[in-house]
C-alpha cells in the first residue's frame, strides 16, 4: 500500500464528479482505501449555495457575464467556457466550447439533473442502422444497474411504458411533480400531432432519503442544492465515502501524468499542487481516471512512455477520438392565450416536470426521416423569477410598456432540442504541442464538424418545434433557420463523451466493458470517456451507472486478488 500524508491507500481516483464520486463510493464501501485527487478547490454546498438569493442582490441582476457564463448564481467555480490560465485551442474552422469547473464535485454541482436512461437500441446503434458502433454491453446487462443507481441517487419520474425511456424496476422511481399550465398545454397540443409528453426523469428528490431532504420546490438546481435534494456528489457520494474512513480527498491537485512501470502497469500519478505549483508524485496499485471525457483523454495523451509513445493505453490510437456531444438547437415563441393568465407558483422542481421524448422511431426505421438518431425536447416558460430580459420585445414607454411586461409575463415558451450525434472522424481532441497551461501541462486542441445527420436532425427539430408551438396557439419568434444555422456549437450542450471508448476489440477501443484499459490492466476509466455512442439522453445517469457497475467489478477484483 502507498501512503500520502499518513493515509494508506491502494486506489487513486482522478476527479470527483459523477464517475469519480461513484467509484469512490463503491470502492470505499467495499473496503478499498481510496485517494481522490480533484483539480479544483474544496467546495461546500451546505455553506456556499445561494439558496433563495434574488436577482436584485446580485451584480447586474445576476445576468451571465464572461466571469459567470450561466449567470451569477450558477454553482460553477473557476470555470465555465474558460478556466483562467488553462486554455484550449481549436483547429481552423472548428467551433467547439468546453465547459469545465475547478471545484470538488465538478460539474455535478450545477448540472440540469435530467437523468433519462438509455434503451436497448441505444446500446446497439450500429446493429440498428449501420452507423456508429455497438457497445460491448446491452440493456439486459445495464438495466439492473440503472435501477440500483437511480435508487441510490434518487430519481423522480414515472414508468409509463414509453419506448424511448424504458421503465425502471418497480419501486425505484420517486413520484414525479405535477405539470404546470404551459406543460399541460404543450401536452394537449403535441398529442394532436401524435407526439407524447411523459414525466421527466430528474435526479431531484421528491421524497427524502436519509439526510437528503425532498425538494421544497424553490431555487434553481444550477446553483447547487444545500438540502441535498438535487443530486450532486458533494452532498451524497463523497460524504458517504468519507464516512467509511476509507477516503482521502486532496483538492487543488491537478493531475498531469500517469506513470507506467517496467511491467507495463500504472504505478501512480503526478499532480501539480495548485497552491504552490509543486509537482507531487503519488503511487498506487490501481489508477482510475474520471476527470471528464476531455481531461481524461488529455491526461492519457500527455502520459507518454517508451511503451506508449502516443499516450498511455493508446495502442489503438483511439484516445481522444470519437468525441461526441449532444446536438442542441432552440426555438422560442409566445402563447397569446397565456397572457394575463391567473398567477400561481410555477417554480416546482425548477426544471421540466414533463418533456417530449423521441417519438418517431418508425420514421427512423422506415427511412422517411433524413437522419437516423433521435432527440428530445426540453422546454420552458412560465412564471419564473423576473430577469433583466423581461422587457425584451416591449415597445414604447410609460404605463403601456409597464402593462405590456405584466401582461406578457408567463406567456413566453421555448423548446430546446437535445439530440444524438453519431461519432465521426472529424470530431476529436489531441494535444496542442505549442500551448501549455499555467501549470506547464500541454493543452487540448479540438477538431469538430457536424455531419449531415446532425444538421438534418436539427432542421427537423426546428420544424416540429415550430409546429408544436403553433399547435399551442403560439407564435414562433425565432427566425426561420436551416439546420446548419440552428445547430449550436460542439461542446455547447456539455455532454462530451467517447474519447476512450469501450469495446470488444482492443484494436478499435481503449477499454473493455469494465472500463479497464486493454493495454494497462490496473488503469481504469470511469467517466463519460468510455461511451461508445451518445444517445440524446443526458449522459450523467449513464456515467454514474457505468461507474457503479465497473467499480463494483473492480472491488471484486481487489477483494479477490489483492490482499
Amino acid at each position: 500500500m502507498a501512503s500520502f500524508d499518513g493515509f494508506e491507500y491502494e486506489v487513486v481516483v482522478v476527479g470527483s464528479g459523477a464517475g469519480g464520486g461513484m467509484a469512490a463510493h463503491i470502492l470505499t464501501e467495499a473496503g478499498a482505501k481510496v485517494l481522490m485527487l480533484e483539480a479544483g478547490r474544496d467546495y461546500d454546498p451546505y455553506e456556499e449555495t445561494p439558496m433563495f438569493n434574488t436577482n436584485d442582490e446580485a451584480p447586474l441582476r445576476g445576468v451571465s457575464t464572461s466571469d459567470k457564463n450561466f449567470g451569477y448564481y450558477d454553482a460553477t467555480v473557476d470555470g465555465g467556457w474558460q478556466v483562467p490560465g488553462e486554455p484550449y485551442t481549436t483547429a481552423e474552422g472548428t467551433e467547439f466550447l468546453w465547459w469545465r469547473a475547478r471545484m470538488l464535485g465538478g460539474r455535478t454541482n450545477h448540472f440540469g439533473r435530467i437523468t433519462p436512461r438509455f434503451n436497448a437500441r441505444d446500446f446497439k446503434p450500429f446493429s440498428q442502422d449501420g452507423m456508429g458502433t455497438d457497445w460491448p454491453l446491452d440493456y439486459e446487462e445495464v438495466g439492473p444497474w440503472y435501477d440500483q443507481c437511480e435508487k441510490l441517487i434518487g430519481v423522480s419520474g414515472a414508468n409509463v411504458g414509453n419506448e424511448d425511456i424504458p421503465d425502471s424496476a418497480e419501486g425505484v422511481l420517486q413520484p414525479p411533480a405535477a405539470p404546470r399550465v404551459y406543460e399541460i398545454l404543450c401536452e394537449v397540443a403535441a398529442k394532436k400531432l401524435g407526439i407524447p409528453l411523459i414525466p421527466m426523469r430528474r435526479a431531484v428528490l421528491t421524497r427524502a432519503i436519509d439526510e437528503r431532504e425532498a425538494c421544497f420546490n424553490a431555487t434553481e438546481c444550477g446553483r447547487g442544492c444545500s438540502i441535498g435534494a438535487a443530486f450532486q456528489t458533494t452532498t451524497s457520494l463523497l460524504p458517504w465515502a468519507n464516512k467509511t474512513g476509507n477516503l482521502k480527498i486532496v483538492t487543488d491537485a491537478m493531475v498531469k501524468e500517469v506513470h507506467l512501470n517496467d511491467e507495463g502497469m500504472a504505478s501512480g500519478v503526478t499532480f501539480v499542487n495548485r497552491k504552490n505549483k509543486e509537482d507531487v508524485r503519488v503511487d498506487a496499485s490501481v489508477v482510475i481516471l474520471a476527470a471528464s471525457a476531455c481531461e481524461t483523454a488529455r491526461l492519457m495523451l500527455n502520459s507518454k512512455s517508451e511503451m506508449f509513445p502516443t499516450g498511455i493505453a493508446n495502442s489503438s490510437g483511439q484516445v481522444g477520438r470519437n468525441l461526441m456531444d449532444s446536438t442542441g438547437s432552440d426555438i422560442s415563441g409566445y402563447i397569446p392565450a397565456l397572457r394575463g393568465r391567473p398567477k400561481y407558483n410555477e417554480d416546482g422542481l425548477a426544471g421540466n416536470h414533463i418533456f417530449i421524448p423521441w417519438w418517431d422511431y418508425e420514421g427512423q426505421d422506415n427511412g422517411t426521416l433524413k437522419f437516423k438518431r433521435g432527440y428530445h425536447f426540453e422546454f420552458g416558460g412560465g412564471f419564473g423569477a423576473p430577469g433583466m430580459g423581461i422587457a425584451d420585445g416591449v415597445d414604447g414607454y410609460g404605463k403601456s410598456a409597464k402593462e405590456a411586461v405584466r401582461f406578457n409575463y408567463g406567456s413566453n415558451f421555448y423548446m430546446a432540442l437535445r439530440g444524438e450525434m453519431v461519432e465521426n472522424e472529424n470530431c476529436y481532441c489531441e494535444i496542442d504541442d505549442k500551448v501549455k497551461d499555467k501549470w506547464g501541462i500541454p493543452v487540448l486542441k479540438f477538431h469538430w464538424k457536424w455531419s449531415q445527420q446532425e444538421i438534418d436532425q436539427a432542421e427537423h427539430g426546428m420544424e416540429w418545434g415550430g409546429k408544436i408551438i403553433e399547435a399551442m396557439g403560439g407564435v414562433v419568434t425565432s427566425p426561420k433557420r436551416t439546420g446548419e444555422e440552428a445547430i449550436l456549437a460542439g461542446g455547447q450542450i456539455i455532454h462530451e463523451v467517447g474519447t476512450t471508448r469501450m469495446g470488444d476489440d482492443p484494436k478499435t477501443s481503449v477499454t473493455n466493458k469494465w472500463g479497464q484499459t486493454w493495454d494497462v490492466k490496473n488503469l481504469y476509466v470511469m467517466d463519460g470517456s468510455v461511451f461508445v455512442s451518445n444517445p440524446h439522453k443526458n449522459c450523467t445517469l449513464t456515467i454514474l451507472t457505468l461507474a457503479m457497475k465497473n467499480a463494483t467489478y473492480l472491488a471484486q477484483q481487489l477483494n479477490g486478488d489483492v490482499s
Binding site: 457564463n69 450561466f70 432552440d330 423581461i390 422587457a391 411586461v405 421555448y414
Partner: protein, 237 residues
C-alpha cells in the same frame, strides 16, 4: 441637410438589428443571454446628429470566476456624472412611472441599476455604456436643437415629443433616429428589467415563487386550471 440622401441601412436591417437583441440560448434548462461580439456599428447618416463619442472601456475590477455567490458584492464603482444620473432618473420616471400596480423605476433605485450596468467591466456592458452615454448626449443635443435647452430643462410635453420619435422600434427605419432608437430600446430593457427585478417589481408582476413548499408541488390552482381549460377549448383545430 441633404434630403436626397439614402441611408445604407434599410428599414429591414434596422428591425433585424433590434430583433437580434433578444437572442437567447437555453442550456440545461437555463436561459443564457448571449454575450456575443459587438453588433456591427451602423454608420451615422448625415441626417443624424448622433454624437458617436468614443469611450475608453472600463476595465476591472471584475467579480471573477469564484465570487462568494451567497453573499454578493459589486467590486466596481459607479461612473455616471450627476447630470447623467439626473437625466436617467427623469427617463426612468417617464419610461416606468408609478401606477396602481407599483412604484416608479426611480422609486426603486433603477438609476443606480443602470449606472452599475454601464460601469461594469464586461464587454457586453461596455458596449451598452457607449450606446447609453451617447444616447444621453443625443437627448440633450436634440432638445437644444428643437427647443434651445437641455432635455431636463425642457417641458414635459417637449420631452415627450422627442421620446415619441425614438421610443418605438418602427422608428428605426428613419436614418436620423436609428441610433437613438437603439439607445432607447436598450434603456427600456434596462429600466423595465431593473424595475421588475427589484423586490417591488417582483411583487408587482406577481411572481409567487422562491418560497419553500414542503411536500409535493401542488401544481396549478383551480383558477389557473379553469383558465387553461378555456385556452385548450380554443386551440387551433
Amino acid at each position: 441637410m441633404s434630403n436626397n440622401y439614402q441611408s445604407k441601412i434599410s428599414r429591414r436591417d434596422g428591425i433585424k438589428w433590434l430583433g437580434s437583441l433578444a437572442s437567447v440560448v437555453v442550456i440545461g434548462g437555463v436561459t443564457v443571454a448571449c454575450d456575443g461580439p459587438a453588433p456591427e456599428a451602423i454608420p451615422v447618416d448625415p441626417s443624424s446628429h448622433w454624437p458617436d463619442l468614443k469611450f475608453e472601456p472600463i476595465t476591472g475590477p471584475k467579480y471573477g470566476q469564484d465570487p462568494k455567490v451567497a453573499e454578493p458584492t459589486r467590486p466596481w464603482s459607479l461612473t455616471f456624472t450627476s447630470a447623467q444620473r439626473n437625466l436617467v432618473a427623469q427617463l426612468c420616471d417617464i419610461l416606468c412611472p408609478a401606477d396602481e400596480g407599483g412604484p416608479s423605476a426611480n422609486d426603486v433605485g433603477v438609476p443606480e441599476v443602470v449606472d452599475e450596468w454601464i460601469s461594469a467591466p464586461y464587454s457586453s456592458q461596455q458596449q451598452d455604456r457607449v450606446l447609453i452615454l451617447n444616447g444621453l448626449q443625443w437627448l440633450d443635443d436634440e432638445a437644444n436643437r428643437r427647443f434651445g435647452r437641455a432635455f431636463l430643462a425642457a417641458s414635459n410635453d417637449e420631452q415627450i415629443a422627442i421620446l415619441d420619435d425614438i421610443a418605438f422600434k418602427a422608428q428605426a427605419s428613419k436614418p436620423e433616429f436609428i441610433h437613438a432608437v437603439q439607445f432607447f430600446d436598450k434603456l427600456r430593457t434596462l429600466v423595465l428589467g431593473g424595475y421588475f427585478t427589484s423586490p417591488e417589481g417582483v411583487e408587482d408582476i406577481g411572481y409567487m415563487g422562491n418560497v419553500p413548499i414542503m411536500g409535493d408541488y401542488p401544481g396549478p390552482t383551480e383558477e389557473a386550471m379553469a383558465h387553461l381549460e378555456e385556452v385548450i377549448t380554443n386551440l387551433p383545430a
